[in-house]
């Protein structure tokens, strides 16, 4: 049987040192909501588990003019309702309500949800639409990576050996003219979605689309940017323009070529991308204009 050690650093620097020290055999445990199962079923057999449970300084939510910073250990449960205190985070709030169930949300951390890099993750999709960046600490210091570059594929991230995700930064935007929303469809409550779509729109003075981001989840290893759909909207009139939104949905659908899941073949997932893109855009526009 595997011989496994359990370490409990109390600071980020200590955690990073341990990660370097134990190299490939080391694995971070945050809430354990994904890790515990992998360990129990022998699917992950690290030599050292580095629990960040007692690491301090990763549990804050701070807002500044630049944006909102959320510590890696903030639980999903604490993010429930975050859109009310930090209205730029409504898209994240959309997600958190639907992720798994309350038991899991009680202990699942934001950092864990990102680092797990599950292809169907809702969190990374919403955060990508929000243009979030993640801060990675290591023995060599800190670096900041846009979340869309951080998640590189299914269960794969750009975190280097010895790097710990410490914070997520969601940049602020003008609530009077911009907003984001997330829509997902799951076959049953409490499940990972078949498809999730995050959309961000900002409007210029005339109600035309100034900027837009459309991010699609579970259609590839990592979230996918639907660029053609974005181009279709950028600079164009989108408020109340259902035709344009529907077209954007179709372009987003044309952009993805997902592998099918049990009970959700590729073709169906593509259909959903079209519907959910349109809906997420509609909701974002409604928010931006109200």
């Amino acid at each position: 049987m595997i011989d496994c050690h359990y370490l409990e650093p109390t600071s980020v620097s200590e955690a990073c040192t341990l990660l370097v020290e134990h190299g490939d055999g080391a694995k971070v445990v945050a809430g354990g909501q994904s890790m515990a199962i992998l360990l129990r079923n022998g699917l992950s057999q690290p030599s050292h588990l580095i629990s960040i449970q007692h690491v301090t300084g990763l549990e804050d939510i701070n807002a500044s003019s630049e944006g909102v910073t959320i510590g890696a250990k903030v639980t999903l449960n604490r993010l429930n309702g975050i859109g009310e205190t930090h209205p730029t985070l409504r898209a994240l709030d959309d997600v958190v309500r639907g992720v798994a169930d309350q038991q899991i949300r009680n202990f699942a951390t934001l950092g864990g949800a990102i680092c797990e890099a599950h292809p169907a993750s809702d969190i990374t999709v919403a955060l990508s639409a929000l243009h979030a960046t993640v801060k990675l600490a290591s023995a060599n210091g800190e670096r900041t990576v846009p979340i869309c570059d951080f998640v590189t594929g299914a269960f794969a991230t750009a975190a280097g050996p010895g790097e710990l995700l410490t914070e997520v930064v969601i940049p602020s935007f003008d609530l009077a003219s911009a907003a984001a929303a997330h829509r997902r469809f799951a076959l049953r409550a409490g499940d990972y979605p078949v498809v999730g779509v995050g959309a961000f729109v900002s409007l210029d003075g005339t109600g035309n689309c100034e900027d837009v981001r459309i991010v699609v989840g579970n259609c590839s290893g990592a979230p996918v940017h639907a660029q053609e759909a974005e181009s279709r909207l950028r600079g164009n009139s989108i408020v109340g323009n259902n035709g344009a939104l529907a077209e954007a949905g179709e372009l987003a659908a044309a952009h993805v070529s997902p592998a099918g899941d049990p009970m959700a073949p590729s073709e169906y997932k593509i259909d959903l991308v079209s519907v959910l893109t349109r809906e997420a855009l509609e909701e974002a526009i409604t928010r931006a204009t109200s």
Binding site: M1, L187, R188, M263, A264, P265, Y268
Partner: protein
């Protein structure tokens, strides 16, 4: 006070709500070790060799077995075609080929990985329509002709080599019926339906604990549906006399047809023998879903002859049960599924060819509704289509075709306690059938659907019980009927309390243990209230007879003039009485003993049935009874995402007599929940190699609470049309509650969006596809 007919709380409830109920998974014995199975990764392969040496040398490993360690016997329900561990061939992914017992489950699992099996891959066969050919591309069981078979199948000129079941019904003149429909302006309606792969997915996975005594006898704890079927199976598999095998049934975390046999228990027993220690085996969820028997699919080709006024005059069905590597507990399904072809309807002509075939997928097993829930999908969707074709209301059309009390169905079952009409109309009223669903804003649509169903309870069958009376007048019922959650223990307790005029808490139940409790066939086929209920009443009568005889001399009265109630024996019409306690005498240092013998009532309730001729489906009364029920659903369909929400659900079932009304309600709601899952969400999926791809509770989607309608929109209706042979008139309730669910929902979807989906489950993907096809063709795909 009458206890039968009241909603007494379940007698095993306190243990269950306090966490003290001990399930198989909870059992721990001294020196107990843990078993894991090495399973085949191939759907079809020859086993060339197995090398267990590495596994055997691992620290903590106590025993490793392969087929070579087991008696060379083939097992099965009625066609004996399966070895406990694969012999020279594996016929499905997940078939066990070896087993390890070790100090911890982790070591056992690691040791299984060290077992090296050399396979020669064979071409697999998955398509049942290929499998049934006379010259199929692949033959699964080359030695089929040599297998022992306990059931005769229909005669055939030549048996397709992968076929293990054939059954025919020939009733009336079917050609004439079609001719008449054609000639007289009626309709011929022909469609193909299919059901999906469904798993019982009990919350408690399959498992067992085995322990040997020094005298060579085996005790097995296993949460199964029948300790006697288990005992017999263990004895056969291990080449023991049944008397050497004791099976104890702890609390059972759900069964639904999936826990009839104890294959893993027999493997654990063999390991325990080799290791000289108790062995526990608990399947992982993935093993449980992928490798224990499932409700495998049916394909139904059904063709109805209907008069222009909507009277069904002939029905022709060809069906294939898509069996797996072994015939298993699915063996009778091609027969029992045919009960629904006439169902509650009068049919002048019925022609059926029903088959079961081997394929390299998971073996077919039982699941609540055994065959009827499947055939109801075809039949009750047909009825909806016929109604629309004839432009007759779907409830009225069904009523027009119903049998009447005393008539015989096309399969010679007398319609008795015939409540289909009442179930149907009460159900229709509750869902406000006459009022069409409100329209919603696009993309949502609402619609209503209804369906009728039957569930037979099989025969021949028997139940025995024993009833011991104690000096404090409390009663102890010994039964091998199993409470799987359905409430059997509570109902049997109620019966005893009623028969003796005592309180519920004066009845003690001795739960299934073949060393103590007498024979009971099985907790299946909705039979326990009916059969064990009758046996219990009779055992009570027998005990009361003994009491009356013992009391007669003391009371100086004729036994026939005595009555026993509330712990007293009194002379009818007089004030003379004694206590039950007075029939006992004091024995020095030993408290009280029975003055004569122990007062133990014994009884066996038996229902015989002569097997039907497999070539005509005709004979005497083929079943113990036939239960009726109707269900209706109002659905909300989103044509863009394909989501189907059940807004409203009504289940009206006839139980003859509601022994415990709350218990019936639990079946109505709980069965509705399972039925909704089967109709909409549950589908075992397989990859091209025959491996299940969604073998987890995350991916195999039994409903969560959110998939159920809100409470105010769930309705349970109890219909009570007493059965002449049922205890207090009662019939079973456990299975009928899932029979009409799928067609009721499918019909509601049609009502909402005008499309038919022919194959279960009605997943969002299929809804979207069917809707798009309809948009493209400009009309509905319903006929």
């Amino acid at each position: 006070m009458a206890v039968v007919g009241t909603s007494t709380k379940r007698i095993d409830g306190i243990e269950k709500v306090t966490g003290t109920a001990e399930f198989t998974t909870d059992i721990v014995l001294p020196r107990m070790i843990h078993a894991k199975l090495k399973r085949s990764p191939y759907a079809h392969a020859k086993i060339l060799g197995i090398d267990t040496s590495k596994a055997e040398q691992m620290p903590g490993v106590r025993a490793v077995i392969t087929a070579a360690d087991l008696p060379d016997v083939r097992l099965g329900v009625l066609t004996l075609d399966e070895h406990l561990l694969a012999h020279d061939k594996t016929r499905l992914v997940g078939e066990p080929v070896a087993a390890v017992a070790a100090d911890t489950p982790e070591i056992a699992r690691a040791a299984c990985e060290q077992i090296e099996v050399e396979y020669e891959e064979l071409a697999p066969l998955f398509d049942p329509e290929e499998a049934i050919k006379l010259d199929p591309p692949v033959v699964l069981h080359e030695e089929y002709e040599e297998y022992e078979k306990l059931l005769e199948i229909a005669e055939m000129d030549e048996r397709p080599p992968n076929l293990w079941q054939a059954y025919r019904i020939r009733h009336g003149d079917i050609d004439d019926a079609f001719k008449k429909a054609e000639d007289e302006g009626g309709y011929i309606i022909e469609n193909r339906y299919a059901t999906g792969y469904v798993h019982t997915a009990c919350m408690e996975p399959h498992g067992a604990v085995a322990q040997w005594s020094s005298d060579g006898s085996l005790t097995l704890w296993a949460g199964g549906q029948s300790p006697y079927i288990a005992r017999d199976g263990l004895a056969k598999a291990l080449d023991l006399s049944p008397s050497k095998v004791r099976v104890i049934v702890p609390f059972v975390g759900g069964a639904f047809g999936g826990k009839l046999t104890v294959k893993e228990g027999a493997i654990a027993a063999s390991l325990a023998h080799k290791a000289g220690r108790p062995v526990k085996i608990i399947l992982t969820r993935a093993e449980d879903l992928a490798a224990t028997a499932a409700r495998t699919p049916f394909i139904f080709d059904i063709k109805d002859a209907v008069t222009k006024d909507g009277i069904l005059i002939g029905r022709k069905v060809t069906s294939i049960l898509w069996g797996g590597g072994y015939s298993g507990e699915g063996i009778l399904k091609p027969i029992f599924s045919t009960h629904l072809y006439p169902g509650s309807y009068r049919l002048a002509a019925l022609w059926v060819d029903s088959y079961g075939v081997y394929t390299n997928r998971v073996s077919g097993g039982a699941l609540r509704g055994y065959g009827c829930a499947e055939s109801a999908w075809a039949v009750e969707t047909q009825m909806d289509i016929i109604a629309r074709k004839c432009d007759i209301d779907a409830v009225e059309l069904r009523i027009n075709n119903l049998l009447t009390e005393g008539e015989r169905t096309a399969i010679t079952m007398p319609a008795h306690a015939f409540s289909a009409h009442e179930c149907l109309t009460k159900c229709a009223d509750a869902i406000e059938w006459e009022t069409p669903s409100e329209s919603l804003e696009s993309p949502w649509y609402r619609g209503k659907g209804i369906a009728l169903g039957n569930k037979y309870s099989f025969a021949p069958t028997a139940s025995s019980t024993e009833l011991k009376v104690h000096e404090d007048a409390s009663c102890e019922l010994r039964t091998s009927a199993v409470d799987l959650g359905q409430g059997a223990y509570t109902i049997l307790t109620q019966i005893v309390a009623d028969e003796f005029g005592i309180e519920i808490d004066q009845v003690k139940l001795v739960t299934p243990d073949t060393a103590i409790t007498p024979f009971d066939h099985v907790a299946g086929s909705s039979r326990q209230t009916f059969h064990t209920g009758n046996a219990t009443r009779m055992a009570c009568d027998d005990a009361k007879r003994q009491i009356r005889e013992l009391a007669a001399s003391k009371l100086e009265a004729d036994p026939d003039d005595l009555e026993v109630s509330g712990g007293r024996i009194s002379v009818k019409g007089s004030s003379k009485s004694i206590e039950v306690e007075d029939l006992f005498v004091v024995e020095m240092l030993a408290g009280k003993r029975p003055a004569v013998d122990e007062i133990i009532g014994k009884a066996t309730w038996e229902v015989t049935a002569s097997p039907h001729d497999p070539n005509t489906g005709q004979g005497e009364e083929p079943m113990a009874y036939m239960g009726h029920g109707a269900q209706a659903a109002e659905v909300e369909v989103n044509v863009e995402t394909g989501q189907v929400r059940i807004r409203r659900f009504v289940s009206a079932i006839d139980v003859g007599k509601a022994m415990n009304p709350q218990g019936v309600e639990m079946q109505n709601y709980g069965g509705g929940c399972m039925g909704i899952g089967i109709a909409l969400h549950e589908d075992m999926c397989f990859d091209a190699n025959g491996e299940m791809t969604n073998a987890s509770l995350m991916d195999y989607k039994i409903p969560s609470i959110v998939e159920m309608p809100l409470n105010e929109y769930m309705e349970s209706i109890i219909v009570e049309v007493p059965h002449q042979h049922g205890p207090y008139g009662a019939k079973g309730a456990g299975e009928i509650v899932v029979v009409p669910t799928s067609p009721a929902i499918g019909n509601a979807i049609y009502d909402a969006i005008g499309v038919r989906i022919w194959d279960q489950p009605l997943t969002p993907e299929k809804v979207v596809k069917a809707w798009k096809e309809k948009q493209a063709s400009g009309n509905g795909s319903g006929s």
